[in-house]
């Protein structure tokens, strides 16, 4: 009798669950559950208020610095993620190759976020692809053409004052 009572009353839990699903929903007290209808506004770059007398160049510079800091913070996060996860043994050769390229890319980014001299930071900012010395002792610096184009575009945006951030 005890077992029968237990099983029957326990099965009632399933029926209660069915009723909750089928019956029209009951209102929930607001102190328990507050349904937010408006999503909070996502702001990656904080709004810069131009104080009276501040020049346009100053506003553009501050905006660029903010953009740069946001990019640095995201890069640090990517480095942490890459370090935390390992490629499974069952991964295909294509995945391993992609992961290797990504790790090298992150390693390059990691060098960018290391503390450096001011001129070195400026160089990295202008040429994200990195710079190298030619091997013939000529002293000439070789840069990635894509980095040059990116640097020119970034400078052009900054000068025009319509820098909305990299997309």
């Amino acid at each position: 009798v005890g077992w029968a009572i237990s099983i029957l009353l326990g099965a009632g839990s399933l029926i209660v669950g069915l009723l909750v699903r089928v019956l029209p929903p009951m209102p929930i007290p607001s102190f328990l559950y507050k349904d937010y209808q408006v999503d909070e506004k996502v702001e990656i770059v904080p709004t810069i208020v131009v104080v009276g007398g501040e020049s346009t160049e100053e506003t553009t510079r501050r905006r660029s610095v903010t953009l740069w800091n946001v990019a640095l913070r995201k890069t640090k996060m990517q480095v942490k993620v890459i370090k935390a996860f390992q490629m499974p043994k069952s991964a295909s050769k294509l995945d391993i190759a992609a992961e290797t390229v990504a790790r090298e890319s992150v390693a390059a980014n990691q060098q960018h976020i290391a503390p450096k001299a001011r001129w070195s930071k400026l160089r990295d900012m202008l040429f994200p692809g990195g710079v190298t010395r030619r091997g013939d002792n000529s002293g000439l610096i070789v840069v990635d053409p894509r980095s040059v184009r990116a640097a020119r575009q970034r400078l052009a945006r900054n000068l025009n004052g319509n820098n909305t951030g990299p997309s």
């Binding site: 009798v1 237990s6 399933l14 069915l18 937010y36 992609a98 990504a102």
Partner: protein, 194 residues
């Protein structure tokens, strides 16, 4: 694009596709929603267990204390509560977490950033289940002795504590409630999805 993308784009991005395959976006969304749903299912199940166990334990312990029993104790003993936690926290969680993602996950809208992890439907299920389980267990605690052949007026608590038959039936009922509620907890949305 983690391979072909430029460094500037990767620095400014929120998500990087390590394999440069747009299909990975769909997989990431599906598995992300599946894991989120699994956490919600487990929360729904676990909160029901905890709310009902705490209330039953408190009420029965309070009653046996107030009624003047020489050995007042809860109807659910410490070992039984530990057993419930051991089984329900591990096996039930594994069962709810091992559900595979379904195509329906892609048919719903994204969750809002400010959305609570426990939604209104989960609250309704948690409180309805907890109320039912508390009512059933307390009903047995206060009345089963007469149904199973006890004499009128005979106390359901002996001098050495709660009647073991009553305690066993309450515990069994509580466990069966959780077993059947596990089926309810496989879904966190309204409608029948068993």
């Amino acid at each position: 694009m983690g391979i072909a993308g430029t460094e500037v784009a990767k620095e400014a991005s929120d998500i990087i596709l390590m394999d440069d395959n747009f299909a990975s976006l769909v997989k990431a969304v599906v598995w992300g929603r599946c894991v989120y749903d699994s956490i919600r299912k487990f929360l729904q199940f676990q909160l029901t267990v905890n709310v009902s166990a705490v209330v039953i334990t408190f009420v029965t312990a309070f009653y046996t204390t107030v009624s003047g029993d020489q050995n007042p104790e809860s109807i659910l003993t410490s070992v039984q509560l530990l057993w419930v936690n051991l089984i329900m926290d591990t096996l039930a969680a594994l069962a709810l977490a091992s559900d595979n993602p379904s195509d329906e996950l892609l048919h719903r809208k994204p969750s809002r950033r400010t959305e609570s992890i426990i939604n209104a439907d989960m609250y309704r299920m948690i409180f309805a289940q907890a109320l039912y389980q508390i009512a059933v267990c307390l009903l047995i605690f206060f009345g089963i002795h007469h149904w199973t052949g006890g004499k009128d007026g005979e106390q359901m608590h002996t001098d050495s504590g709660t009647d073991p038959v009553t305690a066993t039936i309450v515990f069994n009922t509580f466990i069966f409630c959780q077993i059947f509620n596990e089926i309810n907890s496989r879904s966190i949305s309204p409608g029948i999805h068993y």
